[in-house]
Symmetry: none
Subunit: 232 residues, 2 copies
DNA sequence: GACAACACGAACAAAAACGCGCAATCACGA
DNA sequence: TCGTGATTGCGCGTTTTTGTTCGTGTTGTC
């Protein structure tokens, strides 16, 4: 029948906890910490990875925060370094205990990843990956918008999403953009995205627009607004 | 059914207390502490584990955290094999091109993981992890419910979520449950969860209830419905 | 592109833990 | 006092876990 006693021993449980809290731990470190041979740790890691509880690497293991891995591995992220830097910089502008919208886009996801040091934020987002990234934070209050998912980037768009976004007012709106025209006009490809961005801008006291240099060379056709709309 | 005299001797009671306070205690330590042979401790541990009062391991025992206290990460690994098997089995009942609700719970997540071979499903869910799992599928149409995220398990609950769920009718409702009473009554801990489950049941042509054997030994207090509510 | 250092898996051996059967002990009432 | 049944301790063969060795594979550097 089904085995009643699950085959996970205390050490393996500790390993999961350790890896999840540290991000990356080497086999050597774990062997030392638990006072067992490296080979034993390897066996544990192998077993846990087989169960899908963490990810194996040469020399150690990392947690299996599903979405982050999907984000990095399966999706092409251009200018990762620049986006991380932008996200980090933007995050430093957000004080603890603030409320904020986070819109769709890979740059806003980088921003969300940089919120690790913040506390007690209240976040409203229509970005599935952002929601996943911060979903484990017990001190955050995270609201996700309703609606249909767009597979390619985890965006939640449409009338229902706008309705959700429209029922909140926040101190910050963090949005990305597809393109910026020479005159400062903000541009996007998709009407739904544009409407969501507008809703966020309308309901935020301040707006942080995250964009790297590539946005200046693109010229989508939809108009989100002018830079003037972002002024405080 | 409930046996009137369960024989738990003082030593066994002490063992439970000790394990609960220490986290992990080796059989050797306990044998020394109670001044009995290791064999006797083994018997005690075996008996107590059988009663579900603690968890047995090679060389010792750990406490059996109560359901509410089990963190999501740990819950995820409970009965992983059984949950995968259940999920796989349930997935085989779903034809391509169906529409379905997927509720919160680790078993429903296992189910979602088993949908890899399906095509063109339309899914409505209030489970962030489920949404993430299937978000990359370009042939699926995925709708996520609105509302506040519960960090411990990625559940989206509340009035907004119910409103989203209530605006769809599907062929299948896939739900988990916290406990099943002997008379078939479905039980849950949280009022919000119960309301979501009821909404899903109401709006589904057929309901698939995913539960492993551990659900029969738990007795939460909220009533979701009877097994009769699930009949086709 | 080659080499050194490190990490890995497989196989084997040692150690620890386990279960079972049986005998000794204890509790308790006839 | 004796018998009965439950509990405990011990011996021993079996299973599980852990450590070690060694040939192979991977990584990083020059």
């Amino acid at each position: 029948m089904s085995n009643p006693t699950i085959r996970i021993n205390p050490r393996q449980e500790q390993i999961i906890r350790l890896v999840r809290s540290q991000g990356y731990v080497s086999n050597e470190d774990m062997a030392q910490q638990f006072d067992v041979a490296v080979q034993t740790i390897r066996r544990d890691i192998g077993f846990l990875a087989e169960q899908g509880l963490l990810t194996r690497h040469h020399g150690g293991a990392t947690p299996n925060s599903t979405i982050e891995n999907i984000a990095y591995n399966e999706r092409q992220i251009l200018n990762l370094k620049a986006k991380d830097a932008i996200g980090h910089c933007a995050a430093s502008l957000i004080p603890d205990r603030s409320s904020l919208f986070i819109n769709i886009g890979t740059t806003t996801e980088a921003f969300a990843r940089s919120l690790g040091g913040h506390r007690d934020l209240r976040v409203v987002t229509n970005n599935l990956h952002v929601a996943s990234l911060i979903s484990g934070r017990p001190d955050f209050r995270t609201v996700i918008a309703a609606g249909e998912l767009r597979p390619k980037d985890g965006a939640i768009l449409g009338a229902a999403a706008i309705e959700t976004l429209d029922s909140f007012r926040t101190e910050f709106g963090v949005i990305g953009i597809s393109g910026i025209a020479d005159d400062g006009t903000l541009l996007d490809f998709d009407l739904n995205e544009i409407q969501c961005a507008r809703t966020i801008i309308r309901n935020s006291r301040r707006v942080l627009l995250l964009a790297d240099h590539t946005k200046f060379s693109r010229q989508p056709m939809g108009r989100v607004g002018g830079l003037a709309d972002l002024m405080i």
